[in-house]
């Protein structure tokens, strides 16, 4: 009898633990967990300054009150960032079609700011037709980078071939500095909808 009660107790507690640990069976990976967490409750990110590919300064959150669509890259990335760059170009077009071009800004932020000089960012931008107005490439100061990556939940690890592997996504940041949504770079509908939501 004691053994049966103990077993039932264990099943209840264990089930509860797994339920908690997976957000009710919805998030089995850290990546889906971070997306689900901001979707449920937008999370504040510490504001930071950036130097853009044209040498100008910018900030996240956007000082002009625009919603920022932020992705993290490094310019010498041979694979994922290049396709993500193509996605950002298409996303820019979608933003224009949706009539949001004056209320939204697209930002590709380098997580390798020591290597990604203004020249390298510029050449990356030219390669992907970043216009520098709606969409620009930018880098933070190296000393604030860890804080930024931690706020956004971005993890970049050396790929043993001189580059990095990192989780790629578009992060929707409201003008008052909250991370409101995270979507795959190709999920244009989702990103536009999140941007509209963030503009409300």
């Amino acid at each position: 009898m004691q053994a049966l009660l103990a077993s039932l107790l264990v099943v209840a507690a264990g089930g509860g633990l797994l339920w908690q640990a997976t957000d009710g069976g919805q998030a089995l990976t850290a990546e889906s967990a971070r997306r689900l967490a901001v979707q449920r409750a937008p999370q504040p990110v510490s504001p930071f300054a950036l130097e853009t590919m044209s040498g100008a300064s910018a900030t996240i959150p956007d000082a002009r009150g625009k919603v920022a669509l932020v992705e993290f890259i490094y310019t010498t990335c041979p694979t994922l960032c290049q396709s993500a760059g193509a996605d950002m170009f298409r996303l820019g077009n979608r933003v224009r079609e949706a009539g949001l071009a004056d209320r939204v800004t697209l930002m590709s932020v380098s997580f390798d700011p020591e290597f990604d000089t203004v020249e390298r960012m510029k050449s990356y931008g030219e390669r992907h037709d970043a216009d520098g107005a709606l969409w620009t490439i930018a880098r933070p100061r190296p000393d604030v980078l860890p804080q930024i990556l931690s706020d956004f939940g971005v993890i970049a690890i050396p790929d043993r071939m001189g580059g990095y592997t990192h989780n790629v996504a578009v992060h929707v940041v409201t003008a008052d500095g909250r991370l409101a949504a995270i979507h795959d770079t190709g999920d244009f509908e989702g990103i536009i909808a999140a941007a509209r939501q963030a503009l409300r």
Partner: protein, 196 residues
Amino acid sequence: MKRRLRPGLAAIIMFACILGNRALEADPVLHVLVQLPMLGLCGALLAPRREWRWAQGGFAPLLAALFGIAFWMLPRSIDGAVSFPVMTLAKFLSVPLIGALLVIGWRQAHALLRGFLKAQAISMAGFMAFLFTHSPVRLCNNYLIDDQWRLGHGFLFLAIGLAMAWTIPLLTNARPRPSPRTRAKPITPVQSGVSA
């Protein structure tokens, strides 16, 4: 092994796991298939040799261990152990406990339950092998896709190893049914019981 040596051995293993944590966590194969089992072994070595009434039949401790193992099989938990100190701490506390619960439960478990759990362990290792070798996306933000693939193969070898370790003794121990000629001889209860 002499029982009095066990705490010392457990302490050495625990120390090695803590000191080598950074290096072990850097590689998912070492993290999941070496460090976690070693931590479990720590707890197994320290498991008290007692029979509690709540643990009768081994069900409650084994179930608790299974839930713990399920938790640490989530890619999210493994990722968390690398990213967050509180999850690292949880790993060092909970995995030895899981090992101890496994031993406590195993001692009291019926042979059928043991066999069931062995079959489960093999199939679960096989499932993990399939998952990690076939997932098109990275399941852990802290590990490369190549590492994930290597971990999958580690699980495959584990599944094969467990299957062999648990079935080969059955093949060699299996005693043939007594032939009509020898039937007249007395058979000890142990012999007749095992082959059933």
